[in-house]
Symmetry: C2
Subunit: 136 residues, 2 copies
Amino acid sequence: MERSYQTKQRSRILEYLKDNKDKHITAETIIEHFKRIGSPVGKATVYRYLDSLVEENVIRRYITPENSTAACYQYIDDENNCKCHYHMKCTKCGLLIHLNCEEIDELSNHIFEEHKFKLDECKTILYGTCAKCLEK
Amino acid sequence: MERSYQTKQRSRILEYLKDNKDKHITAETIIEHFKRIGSPVGKATVYRYLDSLVEENVIRRYITPENSTAACYQYIDDENNCKCHYHMKCTKCGLLIHLNCEEIDELSNHIFEEHKFKLDECKTILYGTCAKCLEK
DNA sequence: TTGCGTGCAAAGGTTTTGCATGGCA
DNA sequence: TGCCATGCAAAACCTTTGCACGCAA
């Protein structure tokens, strides 16, 4: 069994991720945020902690097409059951939508029955354009 | 209107992409391939040409979760109508599946009608586990 | 006191850029 | 000949790693 310590840096970073659970946050964003408010956190600390949070399934790691270089992270909101639904992301504005929808579960079942492929809702993000951006 | 020249490097790279249209190819793979067969191509040339092919919608650029660092490219096969269907990718073995399936079109319509979100099949990849890897 | 966490700097891998040269049209 | 393409090297990014020091338990 692994042990881990509670530190100021870790609780601050986790809190920041929780506060921004509706967004996709990059490591750089986190580092900049804490630098701006006057409590800088080391790069390595951020990356290492993000890695372990991903490992513990506390947050998710994404790589989005529009932000090709840097990885995004998102807190997994258990109250919102983020573990059991898909996410859609607008490629224009970055809006993240939680898709609680039976239809996609049906599709998932169909694909498993007919195409013998088990979809992973944690790794899949549906990309497209949101209502607001469609209007423009 | 932009002009562009036909060069040996460009036709070789494009041909290689066409020959591997059923795979997700990285820039490194291309560079290594041409080095191995004795007609090396410059890194910058490969990256610049890939960029313009993406821009012209001749190939697609992907970033996959399992290969977090490098981008993958895939030739858009018009004969296979790759422009009008989704792709599924196995996160275990990398197998790429072309999903010609009415059910997902229904889902796409449903999401557009009910959730006001227009899915982009070019940017979306469904991740999961293929039949072979499920057996293991 | 123990040993994990932190943070700096350096290294690693991927991609981009500057610039002189090469080659298509 | 005009201009785009090439390719080398250097730079720019994002991320990881090594190591000495700090700090939670």
